[in-house]
């Protein structure tokens, strides 16, 4: 066989001799031939073995522990050694506790505990070590065979053992346990719960260590201490290392988070049975689980289902946003702090909202973020996380999102004609921050491009007749601006992207966030304010200067009589003159033609 092929077990491919019958050696890789046909044969056998025997082995393992606790004959050879260094191995305390127990069961429990401690310190010695030798495995297999038979009976009727019935004899009644800190715990156990539990076969004492005839009194400082100590028993059978998040939770917050928090105690169920459909993750994440960041901060990873159901994302499942996590896998990721986590998470929004995401790349918030300002807003800062709501609905709420960081600007805005209308009168026609600055691709107001786009921004409302009519405002403001010196200049600047020189746009006279009402205001006061604005560019402007702007009105006999009359005069005079001259030309030509 060795001559015929060299198997590659890691991939399942076998290398066969090539056409010339030569064995692969120094030839090029092209002469290698894989024979996938062989794989199914091997694979099928393996798969069959696994499917057929693994459940039996699994059940047998559980049973073995159940019996080992009952008879105390099997050593803890398969016990998981507590290599976890975070959990202090209080060997002395363990032994002390072991001595206090007289019975075989107590001996055994003490043994388990002791073994755990010893295995932690000398993991490779003796038959206790994990992954042990053949002796251990043989006894293991023997026990399995016996237990399979026993199990068959156990499964056939979901009844509790006599021993458990004995426990429940007392624990069905209302009793309470008092803890050192005054907390109490009901000791009542619902037998129905236990019967339905997946653990019904292992019996009370496997986890609790007590039997009906051996029930020492113990005291705990708090309920938490009790549950965390009780939950340690789970690890006798369940390898927390299989799932990294379990390992982490238990290691990092052994006193806070225990197995029973999620899985239940007496009514212990599989997670799949506990969870309901879409909200699988909530099985654990409705518990007070702690997230630890590298900087030492902790946070509850609790998610309120009610909040989720109100969000626009209620039909999505958790893993649509929380990628990398699934029902099977929950890798432990460690972030420096909560902000880092949020920033990384916000990257997932683009999976659906790519248009918005790509626009944010042009925004100044994103620019700040990549420049290292971790406080620059990300998607979730404005839109929220689990409580994500539609961004279009509430204008005031949208404006208030900006307020979170831009407090001073918001305060000014709130007093402006726009802000006051929104906040006090709830008029939603007024612009909010994002209407002028844009929500995602807000390039920043200090750029020249923003400046020259201002008239267009204002025009989006002030040239809209429908909206302006409601408030009795003129829509000519844009045209009158564009026809004037500043407007024409601005138009050309905009056209060829002139960005260096500044030219007055709407905000230079009307203000930016502090835009005030001009209509029906005291003309003298308006003019006085306007002069100050003029002087920003025209430093030598005097009191008369603001009048050189005839405001946003077409010149008329009342507002600007001189301009109106001059215009009117020329309107009559130019056609009169030109028509007269043309007539004379025609007459001249006619006379010339007649004279010939």
């Amino acid at each position: 066989m060795g001559k015929e092929y060299c198997g590659n077990f890691s991939t399942g491919y076998t290398v066969l001799p090539n056409a010339e019958g030569r064995l692969p050696g120094n030839e090029t890789t092209a002469s290698y031939k894989a024979n996938p046909a062989r794989i199914p044969a091997t694979g099928q056998v393996l798969r069959f073995t696994c499917t057929a025997f693994l459940p039996i082995i699994g059940i047998a393992t559980i049973m073995k522990f159940a019996l080992s606790n009952l008879f105390g004959t099997i050593t803890g050879g398969n016990m998981q050694p507590a290599t976890d260094e975070d959990m202090p191995c209080r060997q002395a305390a363990c032994e002390e506790r072991g001595k206090r127990r007289g019975t075989a069961l107590r001996e055994q429990t003490a043994e388990i505990i002791r073994n755990k401690c010893l295995a932690g310190s000398q993991p490779k010695e003796g038959p206790l070590s994990i992954g042990g030798n053949m002796t251990v495995r043989k006894s293991h297999l023997f026990m399995l065979a016996v237990l399979v038979v026993l199990l068959t009976f156990s499964f056939s009727e979901a009844k509790l053992s006599d021993m458990d019935e004995a426990c429940l004899g007392c624990h069905q009644m209302d009793q309470t346990l008092k803890f050192g800190n005054g907390e109490t715990l009901s000791l009542k156990v619902n037998p129905a719960e236990v019967e339905k539990s997946v653990h019904r076969i292992i019996g009370c004492s496997t986890c609790h260590g007590f039997t009906s005839d051996n029930h020492p009194q113990r005291s705990y400082k708090s309920r938490k201490e009790f549950t965390s100590l009780s939950a340690r028993k789970c690890r006798q059978c369940h390898d927390t290392k299989e799932n990294t998040i379990h390992e982490k939770l238990i290691r990092e917050s052994a006193t806070n988070t225990t197995c029973t928090d999620c899985h239940g105690a007496h009514a212990v169920k599989r997670v799949r049975e506990l969870s309901k459909g879409n909200q699988y993750c909530l099985t654990c994440h409705n518990k007070e689980l702690e997230v630890h960041y590298k900087d030492g901060h902790k946070e509850m990873a609790i998610v309120d289902e009610a909040v989720l159901n109100k969000s626009v994302h209620k039909n999505l499942s958790c893993v649509d946003c929380h990628v990398m996590v699934s029902a099977e896998e929950h890798p432990v990721r460690r972030f420096q702090n909560k902000r880092d986590f949020s920033i990384v998470m916000a990257e997932n929004c683009r999976r659906c909202h790519f248009d918005k995401y790509s626009r944010t790349l042009e925004g100044m918030h994103f620019k700040q973020l990549i420049e290292g300002n971790a406080n620059a807003p990300i998607c979730s800062d404005c839109h929220g996380t689990h409580a994500i709501a539609s961004a279009r609905k509430d204008k005031l709420a949208n404006a208030q999102k900006c307020e979170k960081c831009h407090r001073d600007v918001y305060a000014i805005y709130a007093k402006s004609v726009h802000g006051a209308a929104l906040i006090k009168e709830n008029i939603e026609d007024v612009p909010i921050c994002s209407d002028c600055h844009k929500a995602h691709d807000n390039a920043g107001p200090h750029t020249a491009n923003f400046r020259i786009s201002v008239p267009q921004i204002c025009a989006s409302c002030h040239a809209n007749k429908e909206v302006m009519q409601k408030y009795g405002l003129s829509t000519k403001v844009i045209d009158t601006y564009l026809q004037d010196f500043h407007g024409v200049t601005m138009k050309f600047y905009r056209q060829y992207g002139q960005t260096e020189k500044k030219i007055a746009v709407c905000i230079d006279c009307h203000g930016v966030h502090d835009i005030a009402r001009v209509k029906n205001q005291n003309a003298a006061v308006v003019k006085q304010h306007l002069l100050k604005r003029c002087q920003k560019c025209h430093a030598d402007a005097t009191a008369n200067f603001p009048d050189s702007w005839v405001s946003h009105y077409e010149p008329n006999i009342k507002k600007a009589p001189m301009v109106y009359l001059v215009d009117l005069g020329y309107k009559i005079f130019i056609p009169f003159m030109i028509i007269g001259l043309l007539l004379q030309i025609i007459l001249h030509l006619w006379r010339y033609a007649v004279n010939r």
Binding site: V488, T489, K491, F492, Y493, Q495, Y496, Q498, K501, H538, D540, A541, T542, N544, F545, P546, D547, S548, W549, V550, P555, A560, M562, V563, V566, D567, G569, Y570, F573, I574, M577, I578, L581, L582, Q584, I585, L587, H588, L589, W590, R591, Y592, V594, N595
Partner: protein, 246 residues
């Protein structure tokens, strides 16, 4: 003496010719850069402005051409005043009552109500109209242009409304000047059947005796001390026609 004489009579010296062309040049520049600003929405205006290198450059060109035209206007007034006062130049551009009569007579003649056209002196009423249009318009344009250039200085003394008024005057007067030039002046200098294909007087400074007699009979009479018959052109034309046909 005057019949079929192809002799040229000197009409303008080189100074006047140069002055005309300088005026024309700055005027064209002003019209191009000015109208592009007035009618900024048209594609051609945008092309003009872009060709000049943007709105700021266009305005700069406009302003400096404006200064040039203002200087030309002022120097003309000064030179003419000096000539009239100290060099015994004839104030032949002065508008007389006769010019109005001439205009009416000419129109009557065109309409066939009168037998003869008006008999004009060195400058006929059409030329005087254009001349004063340029002089008065030039002063007006310079004044309003400066007001628009330095609005803060103007508003120190004058009410603010003078600035938009200046703009209204400037822009309307410019349009008027432009239209008069393209219709009246260009017609009279190029397309009028009397000068077609081109009136060369402003290039050479000389006018044919024939045209002189026809267009400026009074000056011709004064110049040569002769008395032309009232109906000279009909006679002449009839004579020419018979001589060519026979």
């Amino acid at each position: 003496m005057y019949t079929a004489n192809r002799e040229y009579i000197k009409r303008f010296g080189p100074a006047r010719i140069i002055e005309h062309w300088l005026n024309a040049g700055t005027f064209v520049l002003l019209v191009v850069t000015g109208l592009a600003q007035k009618f900024y929405d048209y594609e051609i205006s945008q092309w003009v402005i872009m060709t000049f290198g943007g709105i700021d450059t266009t305005r700069l060109v406009h302003r400096y051409s404006g200064i040039a035209l203002a200087i030309l206007t002022v120097q003309h007034i000064l030179v003419a005043s000096f000539g009239i006062l100290f060099r015994k130049w004839q104030p032949s551009m002065i508008i007389h009552l006769k010019d109005f009569r001439d205009a009416i007579d000419n129109i009557r003649y065109y309409l066939g109500l009168s037998e003869y056209p008006a008999r004009c002196d060195r400058y006929d009423y059409k030329q005087k109209f254009e001349y004063w249009g340029v002089v008065v318009g030039g002063i007006l344009m310079a004044a309003t242009g400066l007001a628009l250039w330095f609005p803060t200085m103007v508003t120190r003394l004058l009410p603010g409304q003078f600035i938009p008024t200046a703009k209204a005057l400037h822009t309307n007067e410019a349009l008027l000047a432009f239209l008069v030039i393209v219709t009246w002046h260009i017609y009279n200098a190029i397309f009028s059947p009397e000068v077609l294909p081109l009136d060369t007087v402003i290039f050479t400074g000389k006018i044919t005796q024939e045209r002189m007699i026809h267009e400026h009979p009074l000056e011709y009479e004064r110049m040569f001390g002769v008395k032309l018959p009232q109906h000279h052109d009909e006679d002449e034309e009839a004579g020419n026609a018979s001589s060519t046909t026979s």
